[in-house]
Subunit: 385 residues, 2 copies
């Protein structure tokens, strides 16, 4: 559990809470996923909703065969397009209120693929695109078992939508996409493999339906971090999307997506209170600094980290304690064993490993980047819509 770098003295003087990013860990994660995509014979279209950072995107673009990126908001699309990334997929179902903003990006030269799972939206896209001077590159979304968005692979509307998009004056049918968010429910390798195969089969089934109707389907896109890591093969798939692998987190560790030492981000926090009579250490990282995500509570009890695991300034996880409670700006650290308060003087610094890095990172406007054991940079990140 010990991390490999030496902690530079200036880390302790950062204001708290701050978000730390270990560049070498990030690079390792990027390389690992790029190698997986290459082994699977698919293009990697990394999701940027976790990092929301142009510096992270630039690094990802140089490591492995990255074929564009995925985004979760149009603000991300605008931001990353402004940093030179012109091949983007907006992964959340588009609705008419976003057509004009998406069209503006497309007119500026960005290939912004949008997704759709309803004939009404397909028809609206086709009509609006013509008026807005664009052809929206659009993928039909398939539901491979998560039951969030998308159509079941055998739903006849898939072909109807594809035909609308293909014929429409303001749309370009680019293919099909799916996402197995339920892959996060898997725990064992066999479960991950089964979900991955279901997802692959769903996407391929839908793609074949389009082809059977003489509709183009150059894009057959799927993905999530567990599926990208554990799929046995991805025959018939052209690209895999994944995002949280870049940073990892405790939940991903729990479901086998990464090892704990592959978690690239942590929250630097200060000890602000001692309550020995309650075996409680107070820190200045609370609900805003960590998020209220408690996803590790779904894992076996030994992996329930409360609101985060506690590590030393050097990154060594301290066993037996977690962030057990949060208020807006207070974190409450406790555990079953008596805390040695002398080890954690008031004002001393700790690091908190997050349950869910996408949500924890969202509270910060920058990363404090560590490389070779030293703070090397601040990388800005965006939030909001």
């Amino acid at each position: 559990m010990r991390r490999k770098f030496l902690v530079p003295p200036d880390l302790a003087s950062l204001s708290t809470p701050s978000l730390l990013l270990e560049r070498d860990v990030l690079v390792g994660n990027l390389d690992r996923m790029a190698a997986r995509a290459a082994a699977l014979g698919v293009t990697l279209r990394p999701h940027l909703k976790t990092s929301k950072s142009a510096d992270v995107a630039a690094l990802a673009a140089t490591r492995g065969s990255v074929g564009g990126f995925t985004v979760s908001t149009l603000k991300e699309a605008e931001y990353f397009a402004g940093h030179g990334h012109r091949d983007l997929m907006y992964g959340v179902s588009i609705e008419p209120g976003k057509f004009a903003r998406a069209a503006a990006l497309i007119r500026s030269g960005v290939r912004l693929i949008v997704t759709c799972d309803h004939p009404h939206v397909a028809r609206a896209l086709a009509e609006a695109g013509a008026g807005l001077g664009v052809r929206f590159p659009t993928a039909v979304e398939i539901d491979c078992g998560e039951h969030r968005s998308g159509l079941a692979p055998d739903d006849a509307r898939i072909v109807d939508i594809a035909a609308l998009l293909h014929a429409g004056p303001g749309t370009e049918l680019v293919g099909v996409c799916t996402h197995s968010g339920h892959s996060y429910a898997g725990r064992a390798l066999a479960e991950h493999r089964a979900v991955a195969e279901d997802e692959r089969a769903a996407a391929v089934y839908a793609a074949e339906a389009l082809q059977a109707h003489n509709l183009p389907c150059p894009l057959v896109s799927l993905g999530s971090t567990p599926v990208a890591l554990h799929a046995e093969h991805l025959k018939g798939i052209t690209e895999v999307r994944a995002g949280v692998y870049m940073f990892g987190d405790l939940f991903q560790t729990g479901i086998g997506s990464c090892r704990r030492e592959e978690i690239a981000i942590s929250v630097l926090t200060a000890v602000i209170g001692h309550r020995p009579e309650r075996n409680l250490l107070l820190v200045d990282a609370g609900a805003l600094a960590l998020s209220k995500d408690t996803s590790t509570a779904k894992l076996p009890p030994s992996q329930n980290a409360g609101f985060g695991l506690v590590a030393t300034l050097a990154g060594e996880v301290i066993p037996g304690i977690t962030v057990a409670g949060v208020y807006q700006e207070h974190g409450l650290i406790t555990g079953p064993d008596p805390i040695d308060f002398a080890r954690f003087p008031l004002g001393s610094r700790l690091r908190i490993l997050p349950n869910h890095s996408c949500l924890t990172a969202s509270a910060y406007d920058r990363y404090h980047v560590l490389a070779g054991g030293r703070l090397m940079a601040e990388w800005p990140r965006i939030s909001g819509w």
Copy 2:
């Protein structure tokens, strides 16, 4: 449940998700609390951690006898000081890593009261203040029953700390403060009154201990929204702090702090998916737009709003459905009765009332302010540390 204003056409064209703030509701909440503080004979020191907005602070400063503000981060202190608010209390226990930043504010002319509950920190403050060219105005924090920070009212260290602060070259003893976060556990008026009286008694007991030792105690500060609203009297108290009353939220409604129509903020969201076979409406407000706060789950089942209540664009709450689940950018609306999907076309707009307004607001960089039924302004707000 119908709100009093007409919805202007341009509200429907805002990008989603966006954070709406109804100015008239806010003003009503400000006036109500100002009247309460006046009736109790105490100064009101509103907490700005909910709004983090200079426009909201400016409005609060003009409504009722406001004696300074409370903040939860030094970034808030710097921001509000920059907007002319020079009497501030930093309500989270200070630690040595924040001394220099606090001192810089004080040297610039801000009366920034800090709080402390440990002799080590008091001593460090006294020494550091001298070196930094300031006398930190400092209150000793009392624990009135929440058991988070502070010392029990009869703890002998209260007087020790006060003496250290009074004698120290870099500190000025300003008095005592306490906060009854456990007031949120109250449900009935009698419970709120009991907590308020415990809090009042704890603060007064500690203040009297200081006075018995010839230590000055001009400030006797307590508060939370429920205590400010429900205390029968606040004899011996000089000021009350409260924050969430400005916006209200579903949790505060559930514990009797406000009526639902007194909730001033809501999240504007777009319908992005229909899953009639699962009785599920998808919207573009998820975990980031709403927060993962599920505090209404602690209320009686009829008040459990999941991740938020659903209202029409005009602000009328739609019974029988809630935001039952969230992903990063997806909200899943469902309920026990069949949803009339024709009523919620893809692309139509809804409003979500938040469980906990402090956390929901934190994701946004501005408020879209409605007044007299029209969008009147965008008010910026800050986040981070």
